[in-house]
């Protein structure tokens, strides 16, 4: 009995102190609250029918965005805990162990479980509408992608209160993370959760690649596609070729940890640096996966709010393709200090600097798009314009880091931390907020409040720069990455305090954002036209939110900025008057993606704790789900013409 209690106390980490108890308490309260609300308002059936089983790209997109905002909260809380610990010399707010766990979960969650779902959420929200089709190529697979991501994120977050979080950094380098030095389930959580979400991401890459290749509306040639769709196309190619490499690296490391092989151990013929090499072969393209779609949506936003077509469309396309190809040949700059020799380091230094050229082309094109435009500084526009100076600082410091001899000085110092936060927050997070303000009416039929939006933007912009700009100097002053505390007398204290103040300002900005969502849901301006921004691309041609089938009649595209052209020529999205509607073929909802992903969660938990019976149960369940799908012949239905007529009449498009 005593043994069981001891085991449980350790397993649920009740011996780890008040932070864990508080988290347990909050998780239990939140879960009970959700269950109570769903039961009280009899929403269980609604939840299952409308959301958990949906294969509609618009709803999947919304779920991705909600998950991304929740994970931004989790990752942001981690960040604030770290900044609180570092605010002053010799702080003992967090222990070294807890600090290690928190910087690991912060990085992993922000990249894999915040940036990725936000990006993929926008794929879902915008791409099928922009290219004038009714859903993605594989709607059922799309649901599987989402639920795999969701359950992987839950599994990863569970580590905080069950068994212990990973503590090897978001890069999880061996040999430190091998069993010998880092026993326990922590690193397994990282490896398994990333593997599961990786399967979903590869499926998303395939899905959008096929959707864009095969399902564009008639007349929409490649060079007529909206810029965002182009960026998703390029990003999907990168996903498809980069993520399998991560899958292999993670699998090999998991085999090392679970089954005692020696791929990356120091003894037994293993090569720890080979993991680093494989990880960054994925890791570098990954940063372009989270920035290229932002470049695409910035192009949309800047063009829309300049009321001009994008400047240098072909140059934009060529530069994105160039970035995609170059992104696969720069990965060594993450580990110049491994000492691969002057030949290797020079090659990868030069290839890294070369990426600055196409990126610069894009920046100039945005500026020239605004030149002589009729500028409208909406919140979405502000966020997009905010990317330009912030990302420029991130990019220029990136070129500094790309010089191998100089990199030996900057490597793993706070200079690096400041650099990549300028690209990932200054680029990706600013861009995600821009996209949220821009597409929010399309997603929910409600505009976010502009005044609160401005408060959100300026608080975040100021807080972000106060937080991260001083960190460049901390790097020069010698403060290294991942140190959990530092002695007084180095002159780092005040600089760190300033940085922490900035971080908490960003927290305030996040609260304003959440308040804006809640305020707008209740009092916000309703989007009755479907085209609140006087948009240029096809997603603004339909109702907000779009009807289930998107377009009653698939539009014919006559040029770039298809909807703009239609408006200029006074055409309707449904074509000339009197064209009869035909029944629309749509995929059926299915609960199997949800159930199968839950079984993946069980399989994953088995691998985390090495409970093989659990793993086998999960695995067999997954196989049964796949087999069932193979024999499912009745997987689609037709929307009758009367229903389409009713919906279109209600939208005033008859």
């Amino acid at each position: 009995m005593h043994g069981v209690v001891n085991w449980a106390v350790h397993f649920f980490m009740l011996d780890e102190g008040p932070l864990i108890w508080l988290s347990d308490f909050l998780i239990i309260c939140a879960s009970l609250g959700i269950v109570a609300v769903l039961t009280k308002f009899r929403l269980w059936k609604w939840l299952w029918d409308e959301w958990l089983t949906t294969v509609d790209h618009k709803k999947i997109g919304i779920m991705y965005m909600i998950a991304a905002i929740l994970m931004l909260f989790r990752g942001g809380t981690d960040g604030l805990l770290m900044r609180a610990q570092l605010a002053w010399p010799n702080m003992h707010f967090l222990s070294a162990d807890h600090y290690d766990q928190i910087f690991t979960t912060h990085g992993t969650i922000m990249i894999l479980f915040m940036a990725m779902p936000a990006i993929i959420g926008f794929f879902n929200v915008a791409v099928p509408l922009q290219i004038g089709c009714r859903d993605v190529a594989f709607p059922y697979l799309n649901a599987i992608s989402f639920w795999l991501f969701f359950f992987a994120a839950m599994l990863f977050n569970l580590s905080f209160v069950v068994g212990g979080s990973p503590d090897g950094g978001w890069t999880s380098y061996p040999p430190y993370v091998e069993n010998q030095f880092d026993p326990g389930p922590g690193e397994n959580y990282y490896l398994v959760a990333l593997s599961i979400t990786g399967i979903g991401t590869i499926a998303t890459g395939i899905n959008f690649l096929v959707t864009i290749l095969r399902m564009r509306a008639p007349g929409m040639t490649f060079m007529r596609m909206p810029m965002f769709t182009w960026s998703v196309f390029v990003t999907s190619v990168i996903i498809l070729f980069a993520f399998p490499v991560l899958a292999v690296a993670l699998a090999l490391l998991l085999i090392d940890r679970d089954f005692g092989s020696h791929f990356f151990t120091v003894n037994g013929g293993g090569a720890p640096m080979q993991y680093v090499n494989l990880f960054w072969f994925w890791g570098h393209p990954e940063v372009y996966i989270v920035i290229l779609p932002i470049f695409g949506l910035m192009s949309e936003v800047i063009s829309t709010f300049s009321h001009k077509r994008i400047f240098g469309y072909s140059a934009m396309v060529v530069s994105m393709v160039a970035i995609a190809i170059l992104s696969f040949v720069t990965w060594v700059h993450h580990f110049f200090t491994m000492g691969a020799g002057p030949g290797v380091n020079s090659f990868f230094g030069v290839s890294t600097m070369a990426i600055a050229i196409p990126t610069g082309v894009k920046v100039f094109n945005w500026i020239f798009t605004m030149h002589k435009g009729r500028l409208e500084f909406t919140t979405a526009m502000l966020w997009s314009l905010g990317v330009i100076p912030n990302f420029l600082i991130g990019g220029l410091t990136g070129v500094m880091l790309a010089v191998p001899p100089a990199d030996y000085q900057y490597h793993n110092s706070y200079f690096l931390i400041a650099h990549f936060h300028y690209t990932l927050i200054g680029g990706t997070v600013f861009g995600v907020f821009s996209g949220l303000y821009y597409w929010w009416p399309k997603m929910f039929g409600v505009l976010l409040n502009e005044k609160l939006g401005r408060w959100h933007f300026w608080t975040f912009m100021v807080g972000f720069n106060i937080c991260f700009f001083p960190q460049f100097f901390l790097g020069f002053m010698g403060m290294t990455r991942r140190m959990y505390t530092y002695p007084a007398g180095y002159g780092w204290g005040v600089v760190n305090l300033i940085s922490t103040i900035g971080a908490f300002l960003m927290g305030v900005a996040f609260i304003i954002f959440v308040y804006n969502i809640l305020w707008s849901a209740r009092y916000g301006e309703r989007d009755t036209t479907g085209d609140p921004w006087d948009g240029r691309t096809l997603e603004w041609a339909t109702t907000s939110p779009a009807p289930h089938y998107n377009f009653a009649i698939i539009p014919t595209v006559k040029g770039r900025d298809a909807w703009w052209l239609m408006k200029q020529n006074g055409e309707s999205i449904n074509g000339p008057k009197g064209v009869p509607f035909r029944p629309i073929h749509m995929p059926n909802n299915s609960g199997r993606p949800f159930i199968m992903s839950a079984l993946f969660f069980i399989l994953g938990a088995g691998f985390v704790f090495q409970w093989w019976i659990l793993a086998i149960v999960g695995f067999v369940g997954v196989l049964i789900c796949m087999a069932q799908r193979s024999f499912e012949y009745d997987d689609s239905h037709y929307i009758p013409v009367e229903e389409i007529e009713q919906t279109e009449a209600a939208a005033g498009r008859l």
Binding site: N277, F281, F328, A340, S636
Partner: protein, 106 residues
């Protein structure tokens, strides 16, 4: 979803191709494991054979499962394969080049 689902005909009869594909892919995997675990050949030989088996596995997957030879307007899989070869060149060739540092350092 376009209402032109009849473009893709349903497969008729028993899917022999897939069964053969499954058999071959399991067999190729089993040989690789057997070579690594049960034989005592020099590592260089084992690795070479496993690479050859891997290429075989690739062909089985492409031809037996992935409808590599089918397409009804443009064969998008062809440029994809070329880009795949470029990536393979980068990851294999690049890794060999980068990781030779061991021989210099050691």
């Amino acid at each position: 979803m376009e209402a032109k689902e009849h473009k893709f005909h349903r497969e008729e009869g028993f899917p022999w191709k897939h069964v053969l594909g499954l058999f071959l892919s399991v067999l190729l995997t089993a040989i690789a494991f057997w070579l690594a675990l049960a034989t005592h050949q020099p590592p260089a030989l084992v690795i070479t054979i496993i690479v050859i088996l891997g290429v075989g596995q690739l062909l089985v997957q492409l031809y037996m499962f992935m409808h590599f030879t089918e397409s009804d307007d443009r064969a998008w899989q062809v440029p994809a394969i070329y880009f795949g070869l470029f990536i393979v060149f980068c990851v294999v060739g690049g890794s060999i080049w980068i990781m030779t540092f061991k021989s210099i350092v050691a």
